[in-house]
């Protein structure tokens, strides 16, 4: 009897173990048959878009599992630097990177070349303008698939414009200053409670320098310009740089139309704490979500804007990476791109897509697509030290924006610009990129 009980116990244990083993085996088989694709994005608002693309691929790939990991841009950049060099990531990873940032990875063979069909798709001028296909490649080879771009336009609060007696957006940089002064709302003590024009004066990262560059572009200046043979030179220790910096300083210290402590950027615009600011098209989607009743419009800038293309790159085993490239191509279907513009607001880069369904509903998009003839775009140079250059220029600008003595002293402004230009030249020289 005792033996029988032991036998039963043993057989029960054996049964349990076999069940567990079988279950483990089955799970393993299921996992092996499922395709997994990880999407690394530096824009949290893009997560629903990638999920939408993944949902659209379900019919052709029922076992495809897409993990979208969208985090803040600066953290994303660190993740890519560590992830691509450290290796060890499982499966295929689709990585979102701006063309200028991807350069270093391409130079070090850390991102693979796109397969022939993707290369043909990207190089086809019917799909992408040469500007975008060039930035997605290097030395004639294609490494990424263009997706969207950051392009600045002016956003302005139409109610505030009406109250200030302004009927049209500013058309020159001088008008920008005049409007900012008129639009500033103050309390009884004269302190600004609503800024006339929100300028990026503080914070971290290179955004301060990018925004300054956009303003300086209207005056004909640039932080860097190509000088041929892959060399670069600065172009801001000049009249354009002085005018751009002086405009900031005048609005901060003289007119006090914008102050460091006043809320800034899209959040402030959505809360009615600033009358106008320059930003990318994603703001339209953001306003639709956070401040749907805000009365606003958008307008092109006086002479042109930054256009910062973001591409999709694929990392992982060459054989398995096919699904990554397929996803990048699927993200560029007309249906998905219209969805992107309508729901997220970033401007798709693909040509020949009819966006009327979106632009007719949301006229603010017109400022980004219907710009005047001769409108000049600039982009960040695809050179290794671009982030370092912009970060250092930004650090210098923050100091300048806090120095009231610069506001009324052109010689001091010139000295500041010369010092900053010299610092940039030192970096270019160190990297062998300085035009002599």
């Amino acid at each position: 009897m005792k033996n029988a009980s032991v036998k039963i116990r043993i057989s029960t244990r054996a049964l349990l173990m076999s069940t567990a083993f079988a279950a483990t085996l089955l799970t393993g088989i299921t996992a092996a048959s499922a395709e997994t694709l990880t999407v690394w994005s530096g824009y949290p608002e893009m997560a629903p878009f990638y999920q939408h693309v993944a949902d659209g691929m379900k019919a052709a790939h029922p076992d495809l599992q897409v993990k979208v990991e969208a985090i803040a841009l600066r953290e994303h950049e660190k993740r890519v630097a560590l992830g691509l060099t450290g290796g060890g990531q499982d499966g295929v990873t689709l990585i979102e990177l701006s063309g200028s940032t991807a350069t270093r990875y391409l130079e070090n063979d850390l991102l693979p070349e796109a397969p022939a069909d993707i290369s043909t798709f990207v190089k086809d001028p019917k799909n992408f303008d040469k500007f975008f296909s060039d930035i997605a490649g290097s030395n004639g080879k294609i490494y990424g698939v263009p997706l969207f771009r950051g392009q600045g336009s002016l956003f302005y609060n139409t109610d505030m414009f009406k109250a200030a007696g302004l009927t049209a957006p500013p058309k020159t940089m001088e008008e920008f200053s005049e409007y900012a002064k008129k639009l500033t709302q103050r309390d009884a003590s004269g302190k600004a409670t609503v800024s006339g024009w929100s300028l990026r004066l503080s914070g971290g990262g290179q955004g301060i320098a990018e925004k300054f560059w956009t303003n300086m572009h209207q005056y004909g200046g640039a932080i860097l310009v190509p000088a041929g043979d892959g060399k670069w030179k600065t172009n801001f220790a000049n009249e354009a740089g002085r005018k751009a910096l002086k405009q900031y300083l005048d609005l901060v210290f003289t007119a006090k139309a914008v102050t460091p402590e006043i809320p800034a950027d899209a959040d402030a615009f959505e809360r009615g704490q600033t009358a106008m600011f320059i930003r990318e098209s994603w703001v339209i989607g953001d306003i639709a979500q956070k401040a749907p009743n805000l009365k606003y419009a958008a307008a092109p800038l006086p002479t042109g804007s930054i256009a910062l293309p973001t591409n999709l790159y694929v990392a992982g085993d060459a054989k398995a990476s096919k699904i990554g490239w397929e996803f990048a191509k699927a993200a560029n279907t007309p249906e998905n791109l219209v969805w992107l513009l309508q729901n997220v607001g970033w401007l798709p880069n693909r040509s020949g897509i009819d966006y009327k369904a979106v632009t007719s509903k949301q006229p603010a998009f017109a400022a980004f697509v219907d710009y005047p003839q001769g409108y000049k775009f600039f982009t960040l140079p695809s050179i290794g030290p671009i982030e370092e250059i912009l970060t250092r220029v930004a650090a210098q600008l923050v100091v300048a924006f806090g120095d009231a003595s610069l506001a009324t002293d052109d010689a001091k402004i010139d000295a500041f610009l010369k010092k900053t230009s010299d610092e940039v030249n030192t970096i270019l020289d160190r990297e062998g990129l300085l035009a002599k």
Binding site: A81, L201, E261, P263, D265, E388
Partner: protein, 295 residues
């Protein structure tokens, strides 16, 4: 023979711990020292040896020098604010040990040390907010003009010192309370018989006898002060819609050089400078307190 066997056993017993310590602590330090002599962009297989060039460049790098000055001010600011306050608070709590509220006092002081840094920093960010913050509201109630706490170059450093001290205080108080509990009661009784007042006992008995505790707490506070990063990051950086000046500190500068500028060798040389500073200051603190202990 037995002694040797016991020694070998002791060594074998301690070996796994030593191996783990060497791998997770000593190896990274040694590798950082090695990397500081190379030019490496994290992505390239090519890693040329450049000797002390990174250190020479550091000496002329205004961002690094700014970071060094800011970090030093913050570390010493936290030290000078935390140690006296912790000592006084611990003495008050110890004095009220028999009170039913003693546990509450200890917990209340210690909570900031265990609270997650990011939400705590966000709360402080609101406190320091120039327009809506309660700190400026309180100052205006006293007739003091509004301050740009998070943008002014000096005030933004003070904000970080306050935040770091608020966090460090709980740990220092807890250690001091343990120290107070181990002080001999007989000495205080003798002092009382000799007519010493409470403050006199505190000044002439407690403070000298708590020197080893003060040494430990000050070393820990100073080292963590030099490693300040997240406080500066959360209070000011990438603050869309909520402006703040990015106070450049050493760890932030290292991260920026490593992962934004792709200059790992250069960042390693910054880490070496930080290591030398912290080691040097720790040695100075040890020697100062030992000498005073002897006298």
């Amino acid at each position: 023979m037995l002694k040797r066997k016991r020694f070998i056993f002791a060594m074998l017993a301690i070996l796994p711990t030593l191996a783990i310590f060497a791998y997770v602590r000593l190896y990274p330090i040694a590798d950082t020292l090695r990397l500081s002599l190379f030019q490496w962009n994290i992505l390239s297989k090519n890693k040329p040896f450049i000797g002390l060039a990174n250190f020479r460049e550091l000496m002329g790098d205004h961002l690094f020098l700014d970071a060094l000055v800011n970090t030093t001010i913050i570390a010493f600011g936290v030290l000078f604010l935390t140690i006296p306050m912790a000592l006084i608070i611990a003495a008050l709590i110890f004095h009220r040990t028999r009170s039913k509220m003693a546990g509450f006092y200890e917990t209340a002081v210690f909570i900031p040390h265990v609270v997650s840094l990011v939400p705590a920093a966000m709360a402080w960010k609101w406190i320091f907010d120039a327009r809506l913050g309660p700190l400026n509201a309180f100052l205006s109630f006293l007739g003091i003009p509004m301050q740009n706490w998070l943008f002014d170059p000096v005030l933004s450093v003070i904000c970080i010192i306050i935040l770091c001290s608020w966090q460090a205080l709980g740990y220092a108080v807890l250690i001091y309370i343990v120290g107070f509990k181990n002080l001999p009661v007989s000495l205080y009784e003798a002092a009382k018989l000799d007519g010493a007042s409470g403050p006199q006992s505190f000044w002439y008995l407690s403070i000298p006898m708590l020197k080893p505790i003060t040494l430990y707490v000050s070393v820990v506070t100073l080292v963590s002060g030099f490693n300040v990063y997240a406080q500066a990051f959360v209070l000011a950086s990438d603050a869309q819609g909520a402006p703040g000046r990015q106070v450049r500190v050493l760890v932030l500068d290292m991260l920026e050089n490593s992962f934004r500028n792709y200059r790992v060798g250069y960042a390693a040389s910054e880490a070496v400078v930080l290591l030398v500073i912290v080691l040097g200051l720790t040695l100075i603190q040890f020697s100062m307190l030992r000498e005073r202990g002897r006298t």
